[in-house]
């Protein structure tokens, strides 16, 4: 069993190409990488929006904005 093309370091070095395992899976890795990247943005933007929405709501209630500007704790801990 070997995940790569290399089983020993003997032979002609000029014949050795890729060193990483699972040669041939580059296209799939690219798709996975792109999905990870786009998914991260979607997750982050949702998280940021929810955070601001909750905090804005809290700050608009009662006298919370005034308290926050004076340094009092009105927002939820993380």
């Amino acid at each position: 069993m070997s995940t790569g093309n290399i089983v020993d370091w003997t032979g002609n070095m000029a014949d050795i190409g890729p060193l990483y395992p699972f040669v041939g899976s580059e296209g799939l890795l690219f798709v996975l990488g792109m999905a990870f990247w786009i998914g991260w943005h979607v997750w982050q933007i949702r998280m940021e929006n929810a955070n601001y929405r909750d905090d804005s709501e809290t700050l608009r209630q009662n006298n919370n904005m005034d308290k926050a500007l004076r340094g009092e704790r009105v927002l939820r801990p993380l």
């Binding site: 060193l19 990483y20 580059e26 990488g33 929006n49 601001y52 905090d55 804005s56 500007l69 939820r76």
Partner: protein, 453 residues
């Protein structure tokens, strides 16, 4: 790698670029320190994280498609203005050469050198927009500038076969336009859609000076940017290249266009243009530390387009002139158009970069833009058109469109109430509170142990 001299040349070149990457990392450290120092205490952590996350986001996208763009776009827009060169195939994210491979030793380090330029381009925008942009919106702009638009301009005007070099004779050896003008143009576009920070302008329209909360951090950050700039300059060269046309061999360093220059020459010019910028900015800003340091940067950026060929005193005078104009432009634009550029990025990078390209067109008029004698020679009009392409076409326009789209969705700027209380209170309150909780717990512990009565 089958002869001693061949192996030494390859390994030296590999190591050369690798070292430039390490130096250029300091540019990003400097930008982070600079921005955090320039922000108010209520926004420090948000400011830091906004710029820090440029690193992974631009890195992965530059791997996925940015690097391919550099090799695919030298003829303009692929399949419309020209074919995709064969070299592009080896630089896709799925190429076997974009990974550990015994048949290639240069792609990764060359990619990384360009990647660090990409971080810089995105990071320039970051400083201008602090304290009111949503992180998610900024990171989309950062990916666009860092992994798409700047690298298109690099393919066009900073590539040995780029169409701007071939047709216009565009010359921009150390990226006055290719990185600084485009990033400055993009920053200006985002600022227009973003608007000024609350309190920046009085009711009568005159600006207030929102001072850095930590001037020492700002100045150390700018020193680090100077340091990283050395790596940047060196990375813009090919260290060993046979520049002799016809018979014979003559090895020299070259600029990015494979035209001869020397590391000695660019060292002289880097330091002289830095000095010219510092000295002029000290005078025009009346000794203001923030602007004196920034003027040093503007001096380098203003001379960079031609610093492979200028005389050092020319570089000094150009640096002084450009730093002065950039300073004056910053305040004129701020007053006239109510643009709140928190760190002067549009002036230091955008206006200085634009001017640097234009000045190089005059100063180097008639010089060959490339070793290829069929390419157009350097001219004022070629570089002026190039400067317009950098600042407006690839810098301002795409960033304006994206930021206007995000603004339309309500996704560009943070809510007003959050801006008033500070981004850190909203996003990092829990961490500050737990520090205080721990202090109280320690006090309780001390009381319990009898250390405190």
């Amino acid at each position: 790698m089958d002869s001693d001299i061949g192996a030494l040349t390859i390994i030296f070149t590999e190591f050369y670029y690798w070292v430039t990457v390490v130096f250029m990392f300091l540019i990003h450290v400097g930008f982070c320190m600079y921005e955090v120092g320039a922000s108010r205490t209520k926004n420090m952590m948000h400011t830091l994280m906004k710029n820090t996350m440029v690193i992974p986001l631009v890195t992965i996208t530059f791997f996925f498609f940015g690097w391919w763009i550099y090799w695919a776009f030298p003829n303009g827009i692929p399949f419309i203005t020209g074919e995709v060169p064969e070299a592009a195939a080896a630089n896709t994210a799925w190429s076997e050469l974009m990974a550990p491979n015994m048949q290639d030793r240069i792609t990764g380090v060359f990619w990384a050198a360009f990647l660090l330029f990409s971080w810089t381009a995105a990071s320039i925008v970051s400083g201008a927009v602090i304290e009111r942009i949503r992180s998610g919106a900024f990171w989309l702009v950062a990916v666009m500038v860092g992994s798409v638009t700047w690298i298109i301009d690099a393919a066009w005007g900073w590539h040995a076969d780029g169409w701007m070099v071939r047709v216009l004779g565009y010359h921009d050896a150390y990226a006055s336009g290719v990185i600084h003008a485009i990033a400055g143009g993009a920053a200006l576009a985002v600022l227009i859609n973003l608007g000024p920070r609350i309190g920046k302008f009085r009711a009568d329209g005159t600006p207030r000076n929102i001072v850095p909360h930590n001037p020492w951090l700002v100045t150390v950050g700018l020193f680090l940017i100077y340091t990283g700039f050395w790596g940047f300059y060196v990375a813009c060269n090919i260290p060993i290249w046979d520049v002799q046309s016809g018979d014979g061999v003559f090895y020299s360093a070259t600029n990015i266009y494979l035209a001869p220059t020397t590391l000695s020459g660019i060292t002289l010019n880097f330091l002289m243009s830095l000095s010219g910028g510092l000295m002029a900015a000290y005078i025009v800003s009346r000794g203001d530390a923030f602007w004196t340091y920034s003027g040093g940067l503007a001096g380098i950026i203003g001379a960079s387009a031609g610093n492979d060929l200028y005389h050092p005193i020319q570089a000094m005078l150009i640096g002084a002139l450009v730093a002065t104009i950039a300073y004056k432009m910053h305040y004129w634009v701020e007053r006239r158009f109510k643009i709140d550029d928190a760190v002067g990025a549009v002036a230091v990078h955008g206006y200085a970069g634009f001017l640097g390209v234009v000045i190089a067109g005059f100063m180097l008029w008639g010089y060959p833009s490339s070793p290829n004698p069929e390419f157009a020679s350097i001219s004022p009009w070629g570089n002026f058109i190039g400067a317009i392409i950098m600042f407006f076409v690839l810098g301002f326009v795409p960033a304006y469109v994206l930021s206007a789209f995000l603004k339309g969705l309500g996704a560009l700027r943070i809510p007003r109430e959050i801006e008033l209380v500070g981004l850190d209170l909203s996003e990092y309150a829990g961490r500050y509170m737990s520090e205080e909780d721990v202090k109280n717990a320690e006090l309780e512990e001390a009381r319990g142990a009898g250390f405190v009565r």
